[in-house]
C-alpha cells in the first residue's frame, strides 16, 4: 500500500476503534434532529419549512464534533513528528486525514439524512435535494475544518475554539445547502444553489491541504 493509503486506512481504523466516530457523529446528528422538534413543537408544516436549515446545521455540528482530534491526537503522542519525517509530504498527510474525516462523518451523515428528513416531514423531492446538498457540501466541512484543526492542534481546549473559527467560514455552505432545499420545497429548481455549493466545496478541498500543511509545520516547531 502507498503511504497515503496506509495513513488513510489507519485513521479510519482509529476512528472506528475509539467508539466509532461515524456512529457517534450519526447519533449526535439524530439527537439534534430529534431535540429540535421537541423544542419547536409538532406542527408538521412548520417542521418541513425549517427542516433543511436545521438538518444542515445539525450535520455541520455533528461533523465538527470529532474534528478537533484530527491532528491533535497525533500531535500529543508524538506521532506527528514521526509522520513529518516519513516520506509522505505533509500536504498529502493533511489530505489523507481530511478524507478519513469525511468518510467517517460527512459521508455517513449524508447517508443517514433521508431518514431524518422523515422526522421533519420533508417531501421526497426536498429529501433528495438535501441528500445531494450534503453529499456536495460536507467535503467543504471537512476541508475547512482541517484548516481549523491544524491551527488549533496544540491547544488542549482546541475543541472550544474550533467552531468559532470555522463556522463563520462555513456559512456559505449552510446557505447554499439549506437554500437548495428551500427552493425545492417552493417547487423551484435547486440546480443553481447546488452548483454554487459544489464550487465552494471544490475550492475548499483544493486550498485546504496546503493551508493545513503549512500550519502543521508551524506547530511542529513549537
Amino acid at each position: 500500500m502507498s503511504p497515503f493509503l496506509t495513513l488513510l486506512a489507519r485513521d479510519i481504523r482509529l476512528a472506528s476503534r475509539s467508539g466509532g466516530s461515524a456512529f457517534l457523529a450519526l447519533s449526535f446528528f439524530a439527537l439534534v434532529a430529534t431535540l429540535v422538534p421537541l423544542g419547536v413543537g409538532a406542527d408538521l408544516r412548520l417542521l418541513a419549512r425549517v427542516g433543511g436549515g436545521v438538518l444542515w446545521v445539525g450535520a455541520v455540528l455533528a461533523a465538527l464534533l470529532s474534528l478537533d482530534r484530527l491532528f491533535q491526537g497525533d500531535f500529543e503522542d508524538g506521532s506527528l513528528d514521526l509522520i513529518a519525517l516519513s516520506p509522505l509530504p505533509l500536504e498529502l498527510t493533511a489530505l489523507a486525514k481530511m478524507l478519513a474525516h469525511w468518510l467517517s462523518t460527512g459521508a455517513a451523515l449524508t447517508l443517514l439524512s433521508p431518514l431524518l428528513a422523515l422526522l421533519f416531514n420533508l417531501t421526497p423531492a426536498a429529501t433528495l435535494t438535501l441528500f445531494l446538498s450534503l453529499l456536495l457540501g460536507t467535503p467543504a466541512v471537512s476541508a475547512v475544518g482541517a484548516i481549523g484543526a491544524s491551527l488549533t492542534l496544540s491547544l488542549k481546549r482546541g475543541g472550544l475554539i474550533l467552531p468559532l473559527i470555522i463556522l463563520p467560514l462555513l456559512s456559505p455552505a449552510v446557505i447554499f445547502g439549506a437554500g437548495a432545499v428551500s427552493l425545492t420545497l417552493d417547487r423551484l429548481a435547486p440546480g443553481g444553489a447546488l452548483g454554487l455549493l459544489a464550487a465552494f466545496s471544490a475550492g475548499a478541498v483544493l486550498l485546504s491541504p496546503f493551508a493545513a500543511a503549512a500550519s502543521v509545520r508551524l506547530n511542529l516547531g513549537g
Binding site: 503511504p3 496506509t6 503522542d77 513528528d81 514521526l82 509522505l88 511542529l220 516547531g221
Partner: protein, 200 residues
Amino acid sequence: MISSLTAERLACARGDRKLFENLSFRVRAGQALAVEGANGSGKTSLLRLIAGFLPPAAGRLIVQDASGDSDDADERGKKIGWLGHHDGLKPQLTVQEQLTFWAALYRGTVNTGALAQVGLARQADLPCRYLSAGQKRRLALARLLMSNRPLWLLDEPFAALDTAGQALMAQLMALHCGQGGIIIAATHDPLGLGNESLKL
C-alpha cells in the same frame, strides 16, 4: 549512509529567549554524540532543530554523504530515525498493527524479528493500552530499528526502561554505530559508546 553531520555556529531561540548560540560540532559516520545539560538547557530543542522541526535562529546544519553536501532540512529529515519524549503509539492498536503501519509509512520492511529483538514477541497482539511505560518504549525502539535510517536522534533513550531494557538500548546503539550510523542523544546518563559529549 551519511559520512558526517556538521553544525556551524548554530543558535536556537524559544519565544524570545536565546537557548544557545555559536554551537558547532561534527559527528562522523560510526560516531555517537551525547548532548548533556541541566533541565531546560535546550537538549530537546537541539534535537528538534536537527530534525528540521524548528528553524535555527542562526547557523547551518550540513549533511555530507556520497552525493555531496546539503543543508536542506527536508532532505535531512528523510535520513532521520526519531525517538522522542513521546512514543507515538495509539492505545487502541495492537503492537503488531502499529509496527505494520509505520513500516508501510516509512517504506520499511516489517521485520518480524524486530519485536523479538526488543522482547515484545509475546505481546504482538496486545493493544498498546495494556503496555507499561517501559514496554511502550521498547516498541518505539522496534520502530526505530525498522525505519532503517542512518541518523538517529534520541531524546532520553534510557527513560522508563528497566535494567534489561537499558542494556538492550545500549547494545542496539552500539550496533547502529558499528554499522556506520550516527547517533545524537540527549541524556542525563552516560551512553557508554566511547562517544564525545556536548554540554549545553
